[in-house]
């Protein structure tokens, strides 16, 4: 996993609440047995005018000019600014894979759906919760300022605007440490293999029917 420490990048606004994972990566792309290459199909149904299917040459498809991420000023964006309950719906990890593959490194919203929030951390993507009023300010500034960029410092837990104003955000210490170091959860957990084995043996003795 790619470590995340400090990131400075262009902001793209997606001014909708309840963006679900079906919208982030439509189901037909879930048929892949790979975990990369989903970026060109991120937001597929909003982004293109035709219907996307796996295996198409996406560079030849007609873009929807009305979709905000297609506007020239947001090309190369790496920070997605959005609204409440982002990532709701299906648990598909293809959603953070698609966002990461598209080029996003951080997401800012008033709230995220639980499973999606969790999945982001496993894929080097930082979801940041800010209060609705601060998100409103960021939307206003993004719209008003072409080339609007933010600086995100995970260590300091801050989002800093170009005018120097900084917002702070909360993040679990454990998740933060893993993301800052790019640690793989499995490797970390297996350090406790002894404890898991001991727990399992006790459980097997007490509730043998679980181990049929």
């Amino acid at each position: 996993m790619r470590p995340f420490t400090i990131h400075e990048g262009l902001v793209a606004p997606l001014d909708r609440a309840n963006v679900d994972t079906d919208a982030i990566i439509p189901k037909q792309f879930l048929k892949s047995i790979k975990r990369s290459g989903f970026g060109p199909n991120a937001f597929d149904e909003w982004r293109y005018l035709d219907r996307g299917e796996p295996g198409m040459d996406n560079s030849k498809r007609p873009l929807n000019p009305d979709f905000v991420l297609n506007q020239p000023r947001y090309q190369g964006a790496s920070i997605l600014l959005t609204r409440d309950n982002f990532g709701c719906g299906s648990s598909r990890e293809h959603a953070p894979w698609a966002l990461e593959d598209y080029g996003f490194r951080a997401l800012i919203a008033p709230s995220f759906a639980d499973i999606f929030y969790n999945n982001c951390f496993k894929n080097g993507l930082l979801p940041i919760r800010l209060p609705p009023a601060e998100v409103d300010e960021l939307f206003a500034q993004t719209y008003a300022t072409p080339g609007y960029r933010l600086k995100i410092d995970l260590g300091a837990q801050t989002v800093t605007r170009p005018d120097g104003k900084a917002y702070s955000f909360e993040v679990d210490p454990f998740r933060k440490e893993c993301l800052m170091n790019g640690w793989d959860d499995i490797g970390l957990t297996l350090r406790h293999a002894e404890a898991i084995r001991a727990f399992e043996e006790k459980r097997r003795a007490e509730q043998p029917w679980l181990f049929a």
Binding site: N18, K27, C88
Partner: protein
């Protein structure tokens, strides 16, 4: 100190806890299907790791499998590759049970687990699927997980979790005739919203929940995720225990008695503390119908489509306006005046035998309305299908002009050939009415099986209470 059921389920699975409260939770049951597992198996192999306990795995193919012409196999090559990848992975690592495509017990993973007794009270159950909350009906701590977590559970038999807050949703009283578990959960979501349960584990309780069958409780827990909660559950009672007796993977003999004694403790203690409590009056719940593109956009059959201006929050106003545009509905339209093009009876929410019985009771002696292009009835599993056929339900459906299909997820998410055409409107017993969920441009209204059958035979949403 009195404990909630959640406290008990949580504490009995904690292997260790980090300083910040992140716990390593031991996983008893790992359910696997073809869509969210290939990358996890691949990751495991690339890292040179072996599954920790393959006997915790119960697997089936459901999302991509066709629901007709099984003799032709899976015609879509990409879907076929995914299903074959699952076959190969399970062959390699082993499992407690595998119900592959065309197996007599194949079906939707959340239907298959409980009906085989592979879901038992007090278990932690995970699956790379958000509707894993379904298994909470058995007083399980059942989480939907992402693919990285599927790999994590395969490799370590554990999940990294932080304890959530506890919410009690209490539904007291008796529901009226024709009002079902589906209406109860839609009413709950209508009340608390799709993010209302975010960060919470929900316990469903109250006399109306206790009065539900295990199947009804599964319907309620299934949609906990649509209320934002990753897990939802119901305490153990006699119904839980009766349901499990003699199921293939349930304990037998002496072990059964021992298990039952433990299961009886899986209830919230009197006076246990909940961080939030929501109460609903069962008698006030009417048959529900969603009108928008989020399950919280719901009203009852006597209601009408709202206007964006009915909402004060500007973000909400905007989403309602967008939803009405997508759904092609005008504010003020009476729900009963909305005509449907297709009807879907199926999905892990509503494809068990009682759901099919409820739909058949309405369909019996009636015919599909002329304006309805297709009515799909898709049983949740091979076992459900055979039971329904033994009861003659398939004949009732066919006589009414409905299509009787093979089990699978089908038009719940339209990954196979079953889908809506752009612009088509569907009465669906599934759980998500998101844009494009049942096919690009398709419009979904969530309802109970009885309400879906009522829409099928009248051509528009109809108060099923008038047809009973």
């Amino acid at each position: 100190m009195p404990q909630t059921l959640y406290d008990k389920l949580w504490e009995s699975h904690v292997v260790r806890t980090e300083a910040d409260g992140t716990a390593l939770l031991y996983i008893d049951r790992h359910l696997i299907h073809e869509v969210t597992s290939p990358q996890a198996f691949e990751g495991l192999k690339l890292a040179g790791r072996k599954p920790w306990r393959a006997s915790s795995i119960v697997a089936t193919a459901d999302h991509n499998t066709p629901t007709d012409h099984w003799e032709r196999g899976i015609e879509d090559p990409i879907s076929r590759e995914q299903v074959e990848t699952l076959d190969a992975n399970i062959r390699e690592v082993g499992a407690l049970a595998y119900f592959p495509f065309k197996d007599a017990r194949q079906g939707i993973v959340h239907v298959v687990g409980p009906e085989n007794g592979a879901t038992l009270p007090g278990m932690t159950v995970v699956c790379g699927d958000s509707h894993t909350s379904t298994h909470g009906a058995f007083a399980c701590l059942a989480h939907g997980i992402g693919t990285s977590e599927v790999e994590h559970v395969l490799a370590t038999q554990c999940l990294l979790q932080k304890k959530m807050k506890a919410m009690l949703v209490k539904v007291e009283g008796e529901v009226g005739l024709g009002v079902t578990a589906k209406d109860i959960i839609l009413a709950i979501i209508g009340k608390i919203g799709t993010a209302g349960g975010t960060g919470y584990a929900i316990e469903f309780a109250g006399s109306a929940i206790r009065a539900l069958s295990m199947e009804g409780r599964m319907t309620v827990c299934n949609m906990a995720i649509e209320a934002g909660a990753r897990v939802g559950f119901v305490a153990v009672d006699d119904k839980t225990i009766e349901y499990l007796k003699d199921k293939p993977f349930a304990p037998k003999g002496e072990l059964w008695d021992k298990a039952v004694a433990y299961w009886r403790t899986l209830v919230s203690d009197p006076g246990a503390h909940f961080d939030a409590v929501v109460e609903l009056d069962a008698a006030a719940i009417k048959p529900q119908v969603t009108w928008g593109t989020s399950p919280e956009m719901v009203t009852d059959i006597e209601g009408a489509v709202p206007a964006p201006d009915d909402f004060s929050d500007p973000v909400k106003r905007e989403s309602v306006a967008r939803a009405l545009q997508y759904m092609d509905l005008k504010p003020g339209t009476r729900i009963q005046d909305i005509a449907v093009d297709q009807v879907f009876i199926g999905s892990c929410t509503n494809s068990r035998i009682e759901d099919l019985r409820a739909a058949a009771a309405v369909a019996k002696g009636r015919k599909k309305a002329a304006n309805v292009r297709r009515v799909l009835v898709v049983p949740g599993s091979g076992l459900v299908k055979r039971q329904a056929e033994a009861e003659g339900l398939d004949e009732i459906f066919k006589a009414a002009g409905f299509e009787w299909r093979e089990p699978g997820c089908s038009m719940c998410l339209a990954m196979n050939a079953d889908r809506l055409e752009p612009g088509e409107r569907c009465a669906s017993t599934s759980n998500r009415n998101f844009e494009g969920r049942q096919g690009p441009g398709g419009r979904t209204h969530l309802v109970s099986p009885a309400m879906a059958a009522a829409a099928a035979v009248t051509g528009h949403f109809t108060d099923v209470r008038n047809l009973l």
